[in-house]
């Protein structure tokens, strides 16, 4: 896991990584296998609270990420075998990058953060039996 939790379920230290579960039927699963992240519509006008509520991914400039690897795994297996988890280190973008992390209202308590824009170079974690993950080297 990239983060540990206190007895209230809150992260007990600053998270090192953010994760994204990509299910096997996702339209961008092919790009995800290459470590690329592509939102539904990079120029979309969807607001963070609308994206977080669900159902707007296809027209959204955001992709959903979480500090909780278990949540990412859950999304990765949501369409059966063939899903994966993407991982980035936490942190602000270097100068000149076109992507950014944005706050999510996270009304479902999934420790969600939003990534605005496209970004490459994610570490790909493959789903193994029982939903465990392994780094794809």
């Amino acid at each position: 896991m990239g983060v540990s939790f206190d007895d209230q379920g809150r992260p007990s230290e600053p998270p090192q990584f953010v994760y994204r579960g990509v299910h096997a039927q996702h339209p961008m699963i092919g790009r995800a296998r290459q470590g690329d992240v592509v939102p539904g519509d990079e120029n979309g006008a969807v607001m963070p609270h609308v994206h977080n509520r669900g159902g707007a991914s296809a027209i959204s400039p955001f992709t959903s990420w979480t500090h909780d690897l278990r949540i990412a795994q859950s999304y990765a297996i949501s369409a059966g075998e063939g899903g994966l988890v993407l991982r980035f280190p936490a942190g602000a973008p270097p100068a000149g990058e076109r992507w950014s992390w944005e706050w999510s209202p996270d009304v479902y308590g999934e420790q969600e953060v939003l990534l605005r824009g496209a970004r490459g170079g994610a570490t790909v974690l493959m789903i193994e039996s029982q939903g465990d993950v392994a780094v794809n080297t």
Binding site: H23, G54, V107, E110
Partner: protein, 169 residues
């Protein structure tokens, strides 16, 4: 060999054999009791059905003719939930395939075990989504308020209300 189980029903073969002498009177009394039992069971079943019909997540209302009507219905449906405001920027519903909506809400429902945050109506919505074709279009109206966030879902073809989910913020 056929084995008869005594179900407690006086009409069952085992109960009839056990009746012995005076069987007719007892059988008659038993039959009346059995009828009463069946009446109570039927009454209970009807009450359960009525209860399910009253549950807002699976209730069926008069079909809204347009998306605008559907939104008004969704807003009226959510009116009892204090703290669900109606942001004016969202007048059109999100439209997605039922299979995608089902996958998302099955996952969010499963994740409640991890998050500890209840999603009211999610289980009923998932049940309803499983009953319609995977490629059916589902319209979703979202509402965000100061205390709660809600989504209301309709079958786009029939305008039938599929359910709603509400979370406390």
């Amino acid at each position: 060999m056929t084995q008869h189980l005594d179900t407690g029903d006086p009409a069952s073969p085992v109960a009839a054999q056990d009746a012995g002498s005076g069987a007719k009177r007892k059988a008659s009394l038993g039959a009346r009791k059995g009828f009463a039992f069946r009446q109570v069971a039927e009454s209970k079943r009807k009450a359960q059905v009525d209860d399910v019909k009253r549950r807002p997540a699976v209730a069926t209302f008069e079909m809204p003719a347009t998306a605008s009507d559907a939104r008004k219905l969704a807003a009226a449906f959510l009116a009892p939930f204090e703290g669900v405001d109606l942001p004016i920027e969202e007048t059109r519903p999100q439209r997605n395939a039922a299979s995608e909506v089902l996958r998302l809400w099955e996952t969010r429902l499963r994740n409640t075990v991890l998050t500890g945050r209840a999603i009211q109506g999610a289980a009923e919505l998932v049940d309803e989504l499983r009953k319609i074709p995977a490629d059916a279009a589902v319209e979703q109206f979202g509402f965000s308020g100061s205390k709660r966030t809600a989504n209301v879902f309709f079958d786009a073809a029939t305008r039938a209300l599929l359910g709603s989910v509400v979370v406390e913020q």
